[in-house]
Symmetry: C2
Subunit: 204 residues, 2 copies
Amino acid sequence: MGRTSDAKEKIVATAMELFHARSVADVGVQEICEQAGVKKGSFYHFFSSKQDLVVAVLDAQWQMGKQEFWEPAFSPKIPPLDRFKALTDGMSEFAQESYEMCGMFKGCGMGNIIAELGTQDDVIRQKADAIFDEIVAFIKAALDEAVSNGDLPEINTEEVAQAFWAYAEGTMLMAKSKQDPAYIRQLMQAGIAFLDSFRKGAVV
Amino acid sequence: MGRTSDAKEKIVATAMELFHARSVADVGVQEICEQAGVKKGSFYHFFSSKQDLVVAVLDAQWQMGKQEFWEPAFSPKIPPLDRFKALTDGMSEFAQESYEMCGMFKGCGMGNIIAELGTQDDVIRQKADAIFDEIVAFIKAALDEAVSNGDLPEINTEEVAQAFWAYAEGTMLMAKSKQDPAYIRQLMQAGIAFLDSFRKGAVV
C-alpha cells in the first residue's frame, strides 16, 4: 500500500481504535502502521510525530461524535430537555455495543487521553480541552433554550453545563472501573434527576 | 543503599509521585530506582513485576488518603452533611496545594490509573475499583446517617453515593483538562446543591 490516498485515514482510524482499547503509550507507531497496512515511511509523510497523530485522532473522534451524535441529538428541533435523555441513551448504547463487541468497556476516548497525558503534553491537553468546551457549549445551548422556554428557571447555565459534562465523564470512568456498561444508565438517571430538581425549583 | 529496611517504602513513595505526575507507562523501573536511591536488584527483591508495584502504590495511596482524610473527615462524630463540605474543601485544597507545588494539577491518582490501565490489566483495575468501593462506602454511611437523622428524606443511598463519587472523579478530570484547580470547588458546589435538592424534597 504505502502512500495510497486513504493511508492517512487508515492510520488515524487504526490509532483511534488501539489508543482507545489500550492507551497512547502502549501503542507504538510500528504497530499502528502494521495494523493499518501502511508502510512506516508513509507515517512520517503525514505526521511529524506521535503527538501530531494523537491530535489528529482527537480531531477525527470529535468530528465523528459531533456528526453522528451531538448535532442530531442536540439539534434545535429537539425539545431541550429531551436532549439530555438522548445523551443518556446514546452513552448507554455506545457503552453496551462497545462492551458486546470487544468484551470490555473502554471509557471515554478523550477522557482517557486527558487522564493519561494531561500533565505530559500541553498540545494534546489543549486539543482535548477545546473539544470538551464544544461539548459543554451543546449542553449549555440546551439549558439556555430550556430557560427561555420556561422549562427551567433562571440558572447559571454555563456552570450547570460544565457540571453535567463532568458528571458524564465521571460515570464513564466509574463504568470503566467496574467494567459494567449498565452503570452509565443507572448513574446518568441521577444526572437527569438533578436537572429535574431545578425544574421543581429546589436548587437555586 | 540497596536492601536497606526502608528501600521498599522509598520505591513505593517515588513511584507514587512519578506515576501521578506523568503516567504508569511513562515511568520505568530504572528511573524509579534511580530517583529512590535504591539498586535495581532490590526492586525485584520486593516486587515481582511493575504490576505488583502499581498495586502497592494504589494500596499505599489509599492507606494515606484514608488515614489523613476519609477517617477524620467522614468520622461518625462529624454531622453527616458537613462531611460533604469537608470533601469539597479537602479536594480543593489538595488540588490547589499540588498545583502550587508542581505547577500542574495531576488529577486523581486512582482515576488516572483506571483511565490508563483499566482495559489492560485486570489485577490493577480490580485493586483500584475495590478502593473506589471503600470510598463510596464512606459516602453511603454519611447519607445513611443523614437519612436516619432526618437531614435527608428516604433516598437510595447506595446509588446517590455512587453518583456523588462519579461526580467527584469527573470534576478532577475536568480540572486536569483545564489545568485549573479552582474548577473543583466551583463544580463540587453544584454537587452539594444536588444533595440539598433531596433535602428540599424535589428529587424522588
